[in-house]
């Protein structure tokens, strides 16, 4: 390394994580680690049927169990107008079922007891009589005439259609297609998946009857928004509600929504007057909480013979489950799916999306993804590869020919996104060089001659993250700004309070580094506090790679505000005019006389002991940052796989990932995020999916049926970077937590398909299990 770590600027340095000390000692403070006096335990009874009418619920035997304090049913909640609650997409969802159950695993009743084992014992004694109803599992059938209506509880709902939404322009797209030399089509399903953070969801509701204060400890990625939703749902005064998100054992979008367990535990605590803890089990987590993806996609790409892209047409049907509960900006019904033109200068595009109710769990969360961008990125990168086959072109050359060029930025896409900055060809070149792409292609030829199947897959993705500018982005009407409050104490140490909430992303370190970069206070002297709604400024939380673009920006801006004030204080203590002062690292000095200086620590002390008359004392500030635009990280991933020609099994040979997320605040943490994301991408392409049988039984409700990659299957990754700063972010950074999950599934799928491309194989839906790959080979060989 050329530069000594010690001399590097704080932003850009791989500072070891401040939070790790407690975690490696077993001293993390996760939800289930919290214990309150007189705390009771709640367990949830779930529906065994995907669709059934509830005839009766008999709770008497459960209530008789020693240690059971209460059994809560939908009927009881209905008396308090709490049987239904709003979803983050403005639909409704049952808290506890009253009339019908509409998916397997739906919450039917809750037992509150002195001990969790007792609560579970009592669940088994609740007697529910169901009358099974016809089940709708296929969204295509759900929208057919005559399909059983799932949401008959909603007066105006006469079918299973939820929304119809279009983006782009039909007319110009039709024209583009009429002028095309070649049109390639792809039908594919992005399977239903579940984020499955290692820690399940849970809460402890503590309603104090004496003070009316409602404290809720909750595994929430967005505690402030949840507080507001709770106030609206329950009618409790918002100032009496305090949500505390402690350490969170992974979120990945799963911990954004409000779940029935939170509401029932709170209601139970209110009624009983004691704290109530609810810890979800894994089956409950996988079967009932926010799933992701489940898009049935049809894409068409129009090109000229020379490879120039003319237009893109997409039709999409989303399987939403029984409630429309996407956690996403309310203006966009299919999230940011319309960023589907990806890295390409696409003259025309038209996107039509529909949402359908089925008898499955609600969700549609942004699983390590900026609101459905994962599906979009997958579709375009798969289409491009197939187009290259059709045209007889090298896939990377087809990409290169159509990339948005550096001089076109800021670039406005046909579906309305303004890309901030990018150097797509540069990232591609690095990826090709580092992966030895040409040699891989040569080797592929050689091996094919021997009957061996090497496949090389590429994805050059662009993401749109950091929601978002208030003119376009809100959830339930709350604008998606974020906030930072910085207080510098007299001794020059600081506390930074944020509206976002880490679930492992390393905020305690990264955001302290931003303060250090702006003010020269070393990161170890900056405590970062998040997740306590009474003690942090309002913000929309952490998901969709928004923390650095919004909370990180707010941190830089508030630090700069304090630096401006610090300058006035320094002028006062140094007895010079502020105009004569220059900032360097951690101090103001007098121009031409650097020995006359006041460090930030000197200034902080003066702010409380010797501030100029007429100026407010102290060195504190708060900023609400409304980003002018999203940020657009990008990159190219190259994956090489070898497919077994007999069995269809495939092994990853090489993964080379080049990411450009603008300025990297902490490269070590950035790389950690990318490796995690690549693993998710591999998982989607290879194994992860939740399916249902025709009766609506969930086939992925535990870690035996829902396969997640272990260290043994997970490939080794090689990471590289290019750096194209965001022009509008205060420190040039872009979001990165999800780039690899968004970009890499197509690279893996493209690699496997590429191994079989010479046989005529053009598509295998994810996950590309050996069985499906084998079938594709068989079909190709026999046709």
């Amino acid at each position: 390394m050329a530069v000594e770590e010690k001399e590097m600027p704080w932003v850009g340095r791989s500072v070891k994580r401040k939070e790790d000390d407690r975690f490696v000692r077993g001293g993390g403070n996760y939800l289930d680690d919290i214990r309150l006096a007189n705390m009771l335990h709640m367990a949830i009874l779930r529906s065994p049927f995907a669709h059934a009418r509830i005839e009766s619920i008999d709770t008497s035997a459960a209530e008789a169990v020693e240690g059971v304090v209460a059994v809560v049913t939908g009927e009881l909640l209905a008396e308090h107008k709490l049987a239904w609650m709003p979803t983050l997409s403005g639909d409704t969802q049952a808290v506890l079922a009253t009339d019908k159950v509409r998916f397997q695993g739906q919450e039917v009743a809750c037992v509150v007891a002195t001990d969790p084992y007792v609560a579970h014992d009592a669940l088994e004694l609740i007697d529910v009589e169901y009358e099974p109803l016809p089940v709708v599992v296929d969204p295509k059938k759900a929208v057919e005439d005559g399909a059983p209506i799932i949401r008959d509880d909603k007066e105006d709902q006469k079918d299973n259609r939820i929304y119809h939404w279009e983006a782009g322009d039909k007319e110009s797209t039709d024209r583009a297609f009429s002028e095309a030399d070649v049109v390639v089509e792809l039908d594919t399903h992005y399977p239903r998946s579940h984020p499955a953070p290692l820690e399940c969801c849970g809460c402890i509701a503590d309603v104090n009857p004496a003070t009316s204060k409602t404290m809720i400890y909750m595994t929430s990625q967005a505690p402030h928004a949840i507080r507001t939703v709770f106030a609206l749902v329950t009618g409790l005064p918002e100032q009496n509600i305090q949500i505390i998100s402690p350490d969170i054992g992974g979120g990945f979008g799963n911990k954004v929504p409000v779940y029935p367990g939170y509401v029932v535990a709170t209601a139970a605590s209110l009624l009983i007057g004691q704290p109530v803890k609810w810890i979800e089990d894994r089956t409950g987590n996988l079967a009932s909480t926010g799933f992701a993806r489940d898009f049935h996609m049809h894409g068409e790409l129009a090109l000229k013979q020379d490879g120039t892209m003319l237009g893109l047409r997409v039709g999409m049907l989303s399987d939403q489950g029984y409630a429309y509960a996407d956690a996403q900006p309310s203006k966009f019904k299919a999230g940011l799916f319309h960023v589907v033109t990806g890295s390409y200068d696409m003259p025309a595009a038209h996107v039509v999306t529909d949402g359908a109710y089925t008898n499955k769990a609600p969700g549609g969360v942004a699983y390590r993804c900026s609101f459905r961008i994962t599906e979009a990125s997958f579709l375009i990168e798969r289409l491009v590869q197939n187009a290259a086959y059709e045209l007889g072109m090298e896939p990377v050359e087809l990409r290169r020919r159509n990339f948005v060029r550096p001089e076109q930025f800021p670039y406005t896409s046909v579906t309305g996104f303004v890309y901030d900055s990018g150097e797509y060809a540069k990232a591609l070149d690095v990826a090709l060089e580092k992966s030895g792409y040409e040699q891989l292609r040569a080797e592929q030829e050689r091996l094919r001659a021997e009957g061996r199947l090497l496949g090389i897959g590429v994805a050059s993705f662009t993401e749109a993250v950091g929601a978002g500018p208030s003119r376009d982005y809100d959830i339930l009407g709350i604008k998606m700004f974020d906030s930072a409050e910085l207080r510098i104490h007299p001794t020059g140490k600081a506390i930074l309070k944020l509206g976002v909430k880490s679930q492992g992303q390393g905020h305690e370190t990264t955001f302290a580094q931003i303060v250090a970069g702006e003010l020269g206070i070393p990161p170890e002297d900056v405590t970062v506090q998040e997740g306590d709604t009474d003690n942090t400024p309002y913000g929309l939380g952490t998901y969709a790679s928004r923390s650095t673009p919004t909370g990180g920006a707010a941190t830089a801006v508030v630090a700069r505000k304090l630096r401006d004030k610090a300058k006035q204080i320094a002028a006062h203590t140094l007895e010079v005019s502020a105009d004569d002062l220059e900032w360097e690292g951690d101090r103001f000095y007098v121009k031409g006389a650097p020995e006359q200086a006041a460090t930030i620590q000197d200034i902080a002390f003066a702010a409380y002991t010797n501030h100029p008359q007429g100026m407010e004392a102290g060195l504190e500030g708060v900023t609400y940052y409304d980003p002018p635009n999203l940020t657009y990280p990008f990159g190219t991933y190259v994956v090489a796989v070898e497919v077994d020609a007999q069995t269809g099994e495939w092994k990853v040979r090489k993964v080379v990932a080049v990411d450009d997320c603008g300025v990297r605040i902490n490269p070590m943490i950035v790389e950690g995020q990318i490796m995690g994301g690549l693993t998710e991408g591999f998982a989607m392409s290879a194994m992860q999916q939740i399916t249902f049988d025709e009766d609506g039984n969930c086939m992925g409700s535990n870690f035996i049926d829902y396969l997640l990659p272990t260290a043994w299957e997970t490939p080794t990754f090689e990471l590289h970077a290019t750096v194209t700063p965001s022009p509008h972010h205060p420190i040039g950074a872009k979001g990165v937590g999800e780039s690899a999950t968004v970009g890499s599934p197509a690279a893996f799928a493209n690699a496997v398909v590429d191994a079989l491309a010479h046989l005529g194989v053009r598509n295998i839906d994810m996950p590309l299990t050996s069985g499906k790959v084998w079938e594709a080979m068989q079909q190709a060989r026999s046709s």
Partner: protein
């Protein structure tokens, strides 16, 4: 069934208590002893967040009843450090960014520590195999492997330092 009295050596100290025979070891460790570094991540003995060492061997403590640990020795993450000094795997995880959310970390570190007892110089493949019974949803494992190997080097250098 009647409660049983068990006596278990936990992190070097003797712990005796009355316990329901059906109570899982992980719950006894967390609830009765208050050692909350041992986590629960599933209901099917799949994730390994609950891993502890039983007489030095890694076990998933959700797979055992507390009564089965009677008379035996249990090490949890809280027992990894000695006299306030972190175990090399603990240092390794900090140095190599082997954790993100930290939920799998206690289990992973205990697997690493047990591996190093048997194999002081494990290859990447050795480490991947040793930790393959546990899940991590954040890191993609690569840095966990590096963390354990960092610990191996650290332990080796400490060893040679002692011998010199």
């Amino acid at each position: 069934m009647e409660n049983k009295t068990i006596s278990v050596t936990v992190n070097g100290g003797s712990k005796a208590s009355e316990v329901e025979p059906r109570r899982l070891l992980v719950h006894w460790i967390r609830e009765a002893l208050g050692l909350t570094g041992t986590h629960v991540g599933c209901d099917t003995s799949s994730c390994g967040a609950c891993t502890v060492l039983l007489d030095g061997t890694p076990v998933k403590s959700c797979t055992m009843f507390a009564v089965q640990a009677d008379g035996r020795e249990v090490t949890t993450v809280e027992g990894l450090q000695q006299g306030g000094k972190l175990h090399p795997v603990q240092e390794g995880f900090k140095e190599e960014h082997g954790l993100q959310c930290g939920f799998c970390t206690p289990g992973m570190m205990l697997l690493g520590a047990a591996l190093l007892e048997e194999n002081p110089d494990p290859s990447e493949e050795d480490v991947r195999w040793a930790i393959s019974g546990n899940l991590c949803r954040c890191t993609g494992y690569q840095n966990i492997v590096k963390s354990v190997q960092w610990a191996a080097r650290k332990a080796a250098s400490e060893q040679s330092g002692v011998n010199a």
